[in-house]
Amino acid sequence: MTDTAGPTDTPTDPGAGTDAAGVLRPPAEQAFADELAALERLDDRPRPPKWRLSPWAVTTYLLGGTLSDGTVVTPKYVGARRLVEVAVASLATDRALLLLGVPGTAKTWVGEHLAAAVSGSSRLVVQGTAGTAEESIRYGWNYARLLADGPSRDALVPSPVMRAMQAGRLVRVEELTRIPADVQDALITILSEKTLPVPELDTEVQAVQGFNVIATANNRDKGVNDLSSALKRRFTTVVLPLPATLSEEADIVRRRVASLGAALRLPADLEHLAEVERVVTVFRELRSGVTADQRTSLKSPSATLSTAEAISVMTNGLALAAHFGDGRVGADDVAAGLVSAVVKDPVQDRIVWQEYLETVVKDRREWSDLYRACRDLDPA
């Protein structure tokens, strides 16, 4: 048995797994084991039952800071402090947390880190899809056992949710709105009663303290399987926004690319990530449909062009530069990634991209290398 139902979820950490050595991305509690241990050691504030850290320390873990012994905690989430505080405070009052936002706004990422910091493990997770069945939220049966011995505790296969209830941990439910409405309903009882009845055994599983749910949902999915108001009421909703400014977004990309590069042992010159600004500018301009100077309106492509994708473009560029170039990421290294991030629909998006290339990129004198690199890819 694995901890997960459905495909294993990792935050869309672009570039993970592309490393020649094939290093898989370790879960947050391993990747940041040192930081968590230091926080745990120095944390003298009250901890809610079963919490590994105090709410204050969880907040520090997510937002970063320097501890009294000099340990530097890296920021995991870059954005408004308020959002993280609300998320942590909600978990501390036993209220489930719903992280809402467009794709690539770090919902999964934040959820994983919260689970790691609060429960010491981020691996109890249900990946929501249209095919997610009730068993992944309640429990299933081991049919061989069931047939041989009849219904019994041993034949019961607990879902990640049930395991979290028993262990007093956090369980993550990814992409909640993709889960069919009737399956979603199974969560209502769990969240309101904190019990999970097992009528077949005439018993029920009681959640022990420390149990809670972190769900994520894409607010562009609206109308797919909109949450019922009964379910919504059980959650504290925290909307994760797209980064407000260019510099904020570039900062996120730079940090993530640097740490991914380090994890992938890419011997790149991280000082020279100037390309980040350009990639992020392209993303933001196309996303918002207007150039940074607000002068020219643009068509937007069908792609989301999230921060996560900008990270992916940059990480790929870093890999290219490291393996085939001089280690410095240049226009040539990001062009291909950029084009494939923008052009998702071969017809419409291509037109959008060409227009952007010819009317915006071309006119920026200091962007001529990028213009050339993109043209070379696609001399249409």
Binding site: T59, A89, S297
Partner: protein, 787 residues
């Protein structure tokens, strides 16, 4: 005789509560409140049951009412609760501060100009537009060193003023508190069981602050405190005194440290003076929240009111934690009710969760108790499902509040209000609280006078009436107005009173000011119209001057074009209103000439948005020219349009419209139009441009398509473009054609069907296939049919 100095935070609900407790204990013979002594005369009005806070004391210069000071009082202001306490017990109330007659006196040519009137106010707002330096609002420290402050930079000056204004907030910040009220609670209230000891300790703390930095006080502050002491000396003989003043002044008002009366008198000798009047005016929570003026702004009056009310009723709760819980939960109950009225579910169970979340959040943030920040975050997370939009309602209705104060009928009126009331009487135009419609006949004197009054008030920012049909006000003898007198308008009148003592003077001054501040020609053009309908001869001169100058510097074609129509309307209808519009005419000629000359150059290389703006501007200018019905002006205009369409490179949107305008005026014939159209719609050209041209050319009326030749060009083009291009253009085409009426569209359809048939002559008729149709028609016509 003891003086009990109750240093407070202006508009601080915590201070207000402490003040009441202190007064109960002291039971003073006289109450002294920080504020200009001119308010003494009107203070009894505050005891009137018809006085409903928020209200503001208003002191103004009689000769120039624009020079005025406002002293807002909310029901949670310590000054208000103290005054009400005294009045209800027959305890005399005296205001003590530098008198308004000095504060408002025009600055002598020399002297210390670094402290502007606004910066010196105790807790009032100064309104002296036009007479003071731009940094007077003191919340604009962005221009350090640009002013004449002797110590070189403006920034420390502002910081000192901040300290004087709200020393409590500064102390709170230093102690790590975001919310000064919270600090008051913890550091003042909780620390000392004895209420008088609280004020004494605070006074000592501030004395230490002031001793450490004597520069915090300046000459102006010294004069103010000397004035306060002078009043204190005056009332000391009558028994114990309680003084409610800004905490900063507390150390200076302790009689043990008084300088000699002579020293104070010296400080106050020879100050400039002017004649002032004082009254009360209704105020609103929104105005309390506005951070206009110096320091009087409270960010969240509604929240403060809530604190004050909950605290006053919750004094029974001995445990401060229980009281905090009470503050949070009763607030969120109110929030939930407001949200429910907006159609959100906000069920009670969620309110409970929101309270817990807010408390947990305060703990995460390491704050001693839940504050407005936590409550707002909890509201967003639990009650509005993450949405910000409903929070705007909460902000407006609860955090700020929608209270409107009232003053009793006996209250002296500001001159402008008195003038307005007189005019309303003489024109028999009574304010009503509900909306009503009035039709005015401009041929009668009374009709015109009413119209002028309503237009003036609108221009003055007192929108009592709204024209029912904005576009036609100039052209006809009839004017329809929606009239509704809302209580806020009383404040608007007071606000406007800084522009003048009569409706006419104030409006002239206001419009002249707007002309100076106007952002562009188009706005100035509208102001010209305003001057006309509101009959403002003085302002008209000022506006036309500004306009003439702005025109000379204006190079943007669109702006020039947009100016034409309002000016033309002014010229055209000026005589209806019996106004002299001669200078406007001359200006119009200049604007038109410059627009004509720049027409072609200004239409080059337009993107879609700019082209659309240009088209709209062109149409408006054309309407203006047509309105004038003056060949001297229209001939050159048409020549300019012809020049424009001769240039093949102009954006389709602009060119299409220009061709249409010329066609409608009979300047180009249909054959010419067809040729142009076919050039534009030629398949080699950009189909998007073609579609834009077509949309712009046809714009609104399909009349032209009745012309066979034109229709054929369009038809040929539409059937000639490729399928995918057609799909792209479909939205534009649909838009173009859906602008026509149904009947119109049907006619075009029929015509097209007909057109395609006329091409081929029908030679043979298939009788069998035609028969059913023929029979049906025959039956419809009621003919006998032999079957």
């Amino acid at each position: 005789m003891t003086v009990h100095v109750l240093g407070v935070r202006h508009h601080g609900p915590g201070s207000a509560r402490s003040v009441v407790l202190a007064l109960e204990e002291v039971r003073p013979a006289t109450l002294v409140v920080e504020g200009p002594p001119e308010l003494d005369a009107v203070v009894p009005l505050l005891a009137d049951a018809a006085t409903v806070p928020p209200v503001a004391g208003l002191v103004y210069d009689v000769a120039a009412p624009r020079r005025s000071l406002f002293y807002p009082l909310a029901d949670f202001s310590p000054e208000w609760v103290a005054i009400r306490w005294a009045l209800s017990r027959g305890v005399p109330v005296r205001f003590a501060d530098l008198a308004g007659r000095h504060l408002l006196a025009p600055e002598p040519a020399t002297g210390d100009t670094d402290d502007e009137a606004a910066g010196r106010l105790p807790f009032g707002e100064a309104e002296e537009p036009g007479t003071t330096a731009p940094d007077q609002s003191a919340d604009g420290p962005e221009a350090p060193g640009s002013e004449e402050s002797p110590d070189g930079s403006g920034a420390p000056e502002v910081a000192d003023a901040d300290v004087r204004q709200d020393v409590v907030a500064v102390l709170a910040r230093t102690a790590g508190y975001a919310d000064p009220e919270r600090w008051w609670e913890d550091a003042v209230e909780q620390r000392h069981a004895d209420v008088l000891a609280r004020f004494a300790h605070l006074r000592d703390a501030i004395a230490a602050v002031r001793a450490a930095d004597p520069a915090l006080s300046d000459a102006h502050n010294d004069r103010r405190e000397a004035s306060m002491r002078t009043v204190l000396r005056d009332v000391l003989d009558a028994g114990d005194v309680a003084v409610v003043c800004g905490a900063f002044h507390a150390p200076a008002l302790d009689p043990r440290g008084f300088p000699s009366a002579a020293a104070d008198a010296r400080l106050l000798r020879g100050l400039p003076r002017t004649k002032v009047a004082a009254t009360w005016v209704p105020w609103t929570s929104a105005r309390l929240a506005a951070s206009s003026g110096y320091g009087a702004g409270v960010e969240a009056p509604g929240w403060y009111r809530h604190l004050f009310e909950t605290w006053s009723t919750g004094d029974a709760l001995p445990d401060p934690r229980a009281r905090d819980h009470d503050v949070a939960s009763s607030w969120l109950v109110r929030v939930a009710r407001a949200l429910r009225e907006e159609g959100l579910p906000a069920p009670p169970a969620s309110v409970v969760d929101a309270v817990r979340l807010a408390e947990s959040l305060a703990a995460v943030r390491g704050r001693p108790a839940v504050g407005l920040d936590e409550l707002t975050d909890a509201t967003r997370g639990v009650l509005t499902e993450g949405a910000d939009l409903p929070l705007a309602v909460v902000h407006r209705r609860l955090v700020v509040g929608e209270e409107i104060g009232e003053v009793p009928a006996a209250t002296p009126m500001v001159p402008l209000a008195a003038d307005l009331a007189a005019r309303q009487r003489s024109l028999r135009l009574k304010p009503t609280a509900t909306s009503s419609t009035t039709t005015l006949d401009l041929r009668t004197d009374n009709g015109r006078a009413r119209s002028v009054l309503l237009h003036r008030l609108r221009a003055l920012g007192v929108p009592w009436g709204t024209p029912a049909d904005d576009t036609r006000t100039l052209g006809t003898f009839k004017e329809v107005w929606e009239l509704e007198w809302q209580p806020e308008l009383a404040v608007a009148v007071v606000d406007a009173s800084r522009y003048g003592a009569t409706v006419l003077d104030a409006t002239e001054a206001r419009v002249a000011e707007r002309a100076r501040e106007a952002e562009g020609l188009a706005e100035l053009g509208r102001l010209v119209e305003t001057c006309l309908v509101a009959d403002l001869p003085v302002a008209l001169g000022a506006v036309v001057d500004t306009l003439a100058e702005a025109t000379a510097h204006q190079h943007d074609l669109r702006v020039l074009l947009e100016t034409v129509e309002p000016l033309a309307r002014t010229v055209r209808y000026g005589d209806v209103r019996r106004t002299d519009s001669g200078r406007v005419g001359a200006l119009l000629t200049t604007v038109l000439a410059r627009a004509r000359v720049g027409l072609r150059a200004g239409c080059q290389a337009l993107d879609d948005d700019l082209a659309t703006r240009t088209r709209i501007a062109l149409e408006s200018a054309h309407r203006g020219v047509a309105l004038l019905a003056d060949p001297q002006r229209s001939e050159p205009w048409f020549r300019a349009l012809a020049g424009l369409v001769a240039d093949g490179s102009v954006h389709g949107t602009v060119d299409g419209r220009a061709v249409r305008l010329l066609h409608d005026a009979g300047r180009v014939d249909t054959g010419d139009v067809a040729a142009r159209m076919s050039r534009r719609l030629s398949l080699a050209g950009d189909p998007a441009d073609g579609a834009a041209w077509l949309e712009s050319f046809l714009g609104g009326e399909a009349v032209l398509l009745h012309d066979h030749a034109l229709l054929e060009v369009v038809d040929g083009w539409v059937s000639g473009i490729g399928d995918d291009v057609f799909a792209d253009l479909l939205p534009v085409l649909r838009r173009t054609f859906s602008g026509f009426g149904v009947a119109e569209r049907r006619r075009i359809g029929a015509q097209l069907a007909g057109a395609s048939r006329t091409g081929e002559t029908v030679r043979e008729v298939d009788d069998d296939r035609a028969l059913p149709a023929v029979l049906a028609v025959a039956r419809m016509l009621g003919l006998e049919v032999a079957s």
